[in-house]
């Protein structure tokens, strides 16, 4: 560094100030010569500062077990099959721990425990007591936030910045929020008689492991149900760490049971005759399968499925902030977000200027070690998903989209995909219709608000949409015509426990969060 500094100071001493711009020539020089006129006096070089030295969050706060068992009736129970599966750290491709594989017997045991807890304890408990447990869980989550955040990033590959600032705080917020409702349900539904459903089977995805567990558990417990939860096979660890929190909070045994495993375990839960409700978040294909399996039963069902959400940028938007919204919409959590703004609809007259700004901003995204506090884009959750994204990118290229990938470095080991986008795409292309669930943005254009609405709705999905305009009347008009469960105006991917979330069409049915999030867990008479 010392040499560089010397060079700098020499350059400064010998320099003349840049020649003043003659005021009379201000307009003339405004020609389209948009190339830099001259380099700065110092020779162009990369400063150490701009590289941001590594700032890894310590993983010492996490104590990993060698293997994890099911959590049934307040105890860790070995799987009856005695088989365990690997939980992989996607940033390294290495095994983090072994996790139990649940079979029919394990599910039977868990459902029986939940039933007993429902009959003997949880449904009889005064609501004000139930709410105390939820408050306790929320507070302990906050206290152990760092531990959860680090484990979430290790297990799922998401940047620590996001698990620290989004996943874990929001998970705690959900418990706080529904703790507040537990003893006020009669005010939520005045004049109605309310009853819990009984035993709920909950199956959650790998993109927000702890947060999705919180979304499912908090309203179910607040309304007096007991639960058997199955985390995604790729990311079971934070849900299993949550068991420690439940114990610490003194939650009665059997109220929450966790059975780990893959599709077969979930299938056993869905088909179990003594389960009263299934809540599922995941892919649309599995959602359809579950709906078919539940069809011939009395089980209630809510589904939170895939999406291909449109982020619509009008010419009168605040462009730099819209760029941020698009970035946040698609590159947040590596694009593993069911409501990701994966289709950018940009008004044709600003397409070029907007894409230029967008690409420049993309170049500042830092791809790398999920535990580094400066990482913006972490690892793709699993090898399987990584291969799927690569395949869809190839299809996009073949179908004629213009592909752009950021030039920044990405680690060579582990599963990483640099942020990228396709321009010149039309709505009939595969990448405009299929959910990619990765950091891949598809850019389409429109000419009028009507066309924007038409294109935004031209999808089997209907989870979310974003509208960017500084004109309030336009926002309201467009929003009322969009077939999507969540619509953001001049922001994107904004979540709050008090706000309902859910989809239309093939994105599922039922709402989570807010007052509406209580509905699916209550018998309302």
């Amino acid at each position: 560094m010392s040499k560089k500094m010397e060079a700098r100071s020499l350059a400064r001493k010998g320099k003349a100030l840049s020649p003043p711009i003659k005021s009379s020539s201000v307009k003339k020089t405004k020609a389209k010569t948009s190339v830099p006129t001259k380099k700065t006096r110092d020779q162009k070089r990369t400063r150490a500062f701009t590289q941001y030295a590594p700032a890894p969050e310590s993983s010492k706060v996490v104590t990993l077990k060698e293997k994890y068992d099911h959590y049934i009736n307040g105890e860790f129970v070995a799987p009856s099959s005695k088989t365990y599966m690997d939980s992989i750290n996607p940033a390294t491709g290495k095994v983090l721990a072994k996790v139990a594989v649940g079979n029919q017997k394990d599910v039977d045991l868990a459902v029986a425990a939940a039933r007993a807890a429902y009959n003997n304890v949880w449904s009889k408990m005064p609501a004000s007591e139930r709410s105390k447990y939820l408050f306790r869980i929320a507070r302990i989550l906050q206290e152990r936030a760092r531990e959860f955040a680090v484990l979430e990033s290790m297990d799922g590959g998401k940047p620590i910045k996001e698990s620290r600032d989004v996943d874990i705080p929001l998970a705690a917020q959900h418990f706080f929020y529904y703790a507040g409702w537990a003893d006020k349900l009669e005010f939520a539904f005045p004049g109605k008689k309310l009853r819990p459903l009984g035993v709920c089977g909950q199956i959650i995805p790998w993109n927000f492991p702890l947060l999705m567990a919180a979304w499912k558990l908090a309203p179910a417990l607040a309304t007096g149900n007991t639960v058997v939860l199955k985390p995604a096979e790729q990311t079971s660890l934070t849900a299993l760490l949550l068991c420690e929190v439940l114990e610490e909070a003194g939650l009665p045994p059997g109220v929450v049971n966790i059975v780990t495993g893959a599709g077969a375990t979930g299938d056993a839960l869905v088909k179990h005759p003594d389960v009263n409700k299934i809540a599922f978040t995941g892919s649309t294909d599995i959602g359809k399968l579950i709906a078919r399996n539940v069809a011939n039963s009395t089980k209630k069902l809510t589904l939170e499925l895939g999406g291909k959400s449109a982020n619509i940028v009008f010419e009168d938007a605040a462009l730099d902030q819209a760029v941020e919204g698009v970035i946040n919409g698609i590159y947040f959590n590596q694009g593993h977000v069911c409501c990701a703004g994966s289709r950018l609809l940009v008004e044709e007259c600003i397409h070029d200027v907007f894409i230029k700004k967008l690409k420049k901003r993309m170049e500042t995204l830092r791809v790398g070690d999920p535990l580094d506090k400066n990482t913006d884009v972490g690892a793709i959750n699993s090898k399987e998903q990584w291969l799927k994204i690569k395949e869809l990118i190839e299809i996009g290229k073949k179908e004629g989209g213009d592909f752009y990938e950021v030039s920044t470095d990405a680690p060579t080991q582990g599963y990483f995909q640099k942020p990228c986008l396709f321009t010149g795409v039309s709505n009939s292309h595969t990448i405009a219709r299929t959910e990619i669930f990765g950091p891949v943005l598809t850019v389409l254009t429109f000419r009028t608000p009507d066309e924007a609405i038409l294109k935004a709705n031209d999808t089997p999905y209907g989870l979310a949409a974003g509208i960017w305009s500084e004109k309030g009347s336009k926002i309201h008009k467009v929003a009322s015509s969009l077939r999507a469960g969540v619509i953001w105006a001049n922001t994107y991917n904004k979540f709050d426990a008090a706000s309902p979330f859910g989809g239309m069409k093939e994105s599922g049915h039922g709402r989570e969060g807010g007052l509406q999030g209580l509905f699916p867990y209550l018998e309302i008479e």
Binding site: M1, R12, I21, S23, Y52, A55, D320, E324
Partner: protein, 318 residues
Amino acid sequence: MSAITLSTSQGKFKIPHYPIDMVGIEERAASFTKRSIKNSSKLEALYLAIEMTDLTTLEGADTVGRVKSLCAKAISPVSAEYLPLLEKKALPAIPHVGAVCVYPAMVKTAAKCLQGTGIHLASVATSFPSGQLDLSMRLKEVRKCVADGADEIDMVISRGQFLQGNYQVVFDEIRAVKEACGETAHLKVILETGELKTYDKVRLASWMAMEAGADFIKTSTGKVQPAATLPVTLVMLQAIWDFYQETGKKIGMKPAGGIRTAKQAIQYLVMVNEVLGEDWLTPDLFRFGASTLLNDILRQIFKQATGQYFYQDIFSLD
């Protein structure tokens, strides 16, 4: 707000309305504070921040003695007896600051002190801080400052005229001041963002100033609260980028007032790096208007070098 039309002797031109979303810009600005800058990156940023500092004294009570002492601090920010501590760690000596910034009456004194040091001499001018004075007298003040040895002029815009919508007046004034600066002096245009209040107006004022020939745009006089903030600086940096895209001209940025800690300074540098890029990470295109900032940077540098914090009194006040 809508597009405004301005005219020069060459004809009319338009400045299109470029809306800023308040919530969005503040969120983005806050995101820069989440960067964790450590070790070699931090150290380089700290050294750079010293070179970018416009060490400032703008008090009614300024005296020749006070200005002399400030200039001495500008030349050697830290007493020579501590420099071996840096040498031991193979760190470069502490550089001098970018410029000294004083009132017009103090320019001669400062010019004498700074001669041959390579430190620039900035003078606030144009009836700083209010600017409420007849233009001809303001121009006279600028010429006097330049004649006395200032090579950077920090002017204020007429906020009253701007808020009345008399954009042409403000534009013409900046052009006139630029001309008064002549060939030798750089012009920094202070928008006094704390009085313009909305980000939309800051964007417009930034653009007008750059069109009128500003070499730098600057947030504040330091006499009005709030002075520099991250979001307001971000609005100006984005304007600078867009102006560069359109004209190929690189305009400098100077946040001033309210930046007191090394941590804050690094947050600004992160923002400059990510919005404008490395080309702007030079005192030629980025400055801090500050006074107490310098000592905090020094403390942090010595902390990095020795592993311990020095107590305040080690570093002279000025």
